[in-house]
């Protein structure tokens, strides 16, 4: 893997978690993630990791800017307002929200991709601890 190529992806979208290693009980999981090293935590381990993380965001940005160029400022402005409203309809953090309004606005209720089949959050085997997740969301943690 060419780490120099991956370094070009090192923008401010990779979370730096040097103080809190992943793994159970806060201890570095050597079996699964290898030994601790700053490089491991900063650089993405797979060329697609960053692009997949930001894919929806970049798609939306591209669509909005195309819409602005074709139809003027009001069209994307109004759509973004509707997106913001739809994004607020959510369950508590540890429960799965259906995001039905958001999907309908984006048009992703009529298409199937890998995010509908693989790693479906509604069938996830781990559940977050409810109290901690709500505290994290409210900023009390």
């Amino acid at each position: 893997m060419n780490s120099r190529g991956l370094r070009s992806q090192l923008q401010d979208s990779v979370p730096v978690s040097g103080l809190c290693p992943q793994g159970a009980y806060g201890v570095q999981d050597s079996l699964r993630s290898g030994f601790t090293s700053v490089k491991n935590e900063l650089l993405p381990s797979h060329p697609l990791e960053l692009s997949e993380k930001n894919f929806q965001l970049n798609q939306d940005k591209m669509n909005f800017s195309t819409l602005r160029n074709i139809q003027g400022l009001h069209a994307p402005l109004k759509l973004q307002m509707e997106f913001r409203a739809a994004r607020q309809v959510q369950r508590l953090p540890f429960l799965r929200s259906s995001n039905l309004a958001l999907d309908t606005l984006r048009g992703s209720d009529e298409s199937i991709g890998f995010e509908d089949i693989l790693n479906d959050p509604s069938q996830s085997e781990v559940m977050g601890e409810p109290h901690m997740m709500v505290e994290y969301k409210l900023g009390l943690l």
């Binding site: 806060g26 699964r32 290898g34 890998f114 790693n119 959050p121």
Partner: protein, 275 residues
């Protein structure tokens, strides 16, 4: 399960948690000994004839040096008028074509029309470009729609080409030779089928990764004729013995029957709506 300190639920889609571990393991294994995904090592071919499209494929799936599947189906259904041959990693081609087929079915239910081949090609191109070639699927898409008969090739990085005849896979050089020699525009049905069969046969004879039977799929405006197998291989192995055991091979020593006593406590009848 250990303490799950999850503060955010994991995102849907591909999960890259094990990528670092896999890279480290590959280094340990000294190259070449990690388990490889099942590749099809294929010969697939397609051509456009007078009334439609003919697609052909061999049926061998290999996993390094072992033949994993002798009757692998490489011509996948996309929609009633579009079929797709896939070369590359077997799981990738299968999953990609299934997702494509689902999306086109949703579209045709929404609009009430048969999808066009260009739509399938565009969806595939977007999907494969998004993953920058990590999905190893080289596909030949062929179909007949209201605008005519079309044959497209889609490469793993999202490269698309519209062609009158094509061969892909590890045996493509031999197959392409036969196609280049014999192709003419507006062939008849029987000539087209014979040309595709001969090209797949050349691929099978010259390439270790292709073999066994030949499947042919003919798509015309009237419908689809999926002939599987079109030609069986001459080198089929004959099983000398049967491995099925007759009933009574194992002697029964003792038999004890214990009837379970169940009593009906409550009975409710709920009618199903069969409207």
């Amino acid at each position: 399960m250990a303490l799950s300190n999850v503060l955010e639920t994991p995102a849907a889609g591909f999960n890259f948690d094990n990528a670092a571990r896999n890279a480290a393991l590959e280094g340990l294994f000294d190259g070449g000994q990690t388990p490889k995904p099942l590749k099809t090592g294929t010969t697939i071919a397609g051509l456009v004839f007078k009334d439609g499209v003919v697609l052909g494929a061999d049926t061998r799936a290999t996993s390094s040096e072992v033949v994993a599947d002798k009757m692998c189906a490489k011509i996948h259904y996309i929609s009633p008028n579009i079929y797709c041959c896939g070369a590359g990693t077997a799981a990738d081609t299968k999953k990609t074509t299934e997702i494509l087929s689902s999306n086109l079915t949703i579209f045709s239910m929404n609009s009430g029309r048969n999808p066009r081949v260009v739509m399938a090609v565009n969806i595939l191109q977007d999907m494969l470009y998004r993953y920058h070639g990590q999905i190893g699927a080289s596909l030949i898409l062929g179909g007949v729609d209201c605008t005519g008969s079309h044959l497209y090739t889609v490469e793993p990085y999202g490269d698309v080409d519209k062609v009158p005849y094509l061969a892909l896979g590890s045996g493509d050089l031999a197959a392409l030779g036969i196609l280049e020699d014999g192709f003419k525009h507006d062939l008849e049905l029987e000539e087209a089928k014979e040309l595709v069969r001969a090209s797949i046969h050349a691929g099978i004879m010259s390439d270790l990764g292709s073999g066994n039977n030949i499947d042919i799929c003919v798509i015309t405006k009237q419908g689809v004729d999926y002939i599987r197998p079109y030609q069986e291989s001459e080198y089929k192995d004959e099983r000398k013995m049967k491995y099925k055991y007759r009933p009574g091979t194992t002697a029964v020593l003792t038999e004890k029957v214990v009837p379970l006593k169940l009593e009906v406590v409550q009975e409710t009848v709920q009618r199903m709506e069969t409207a």
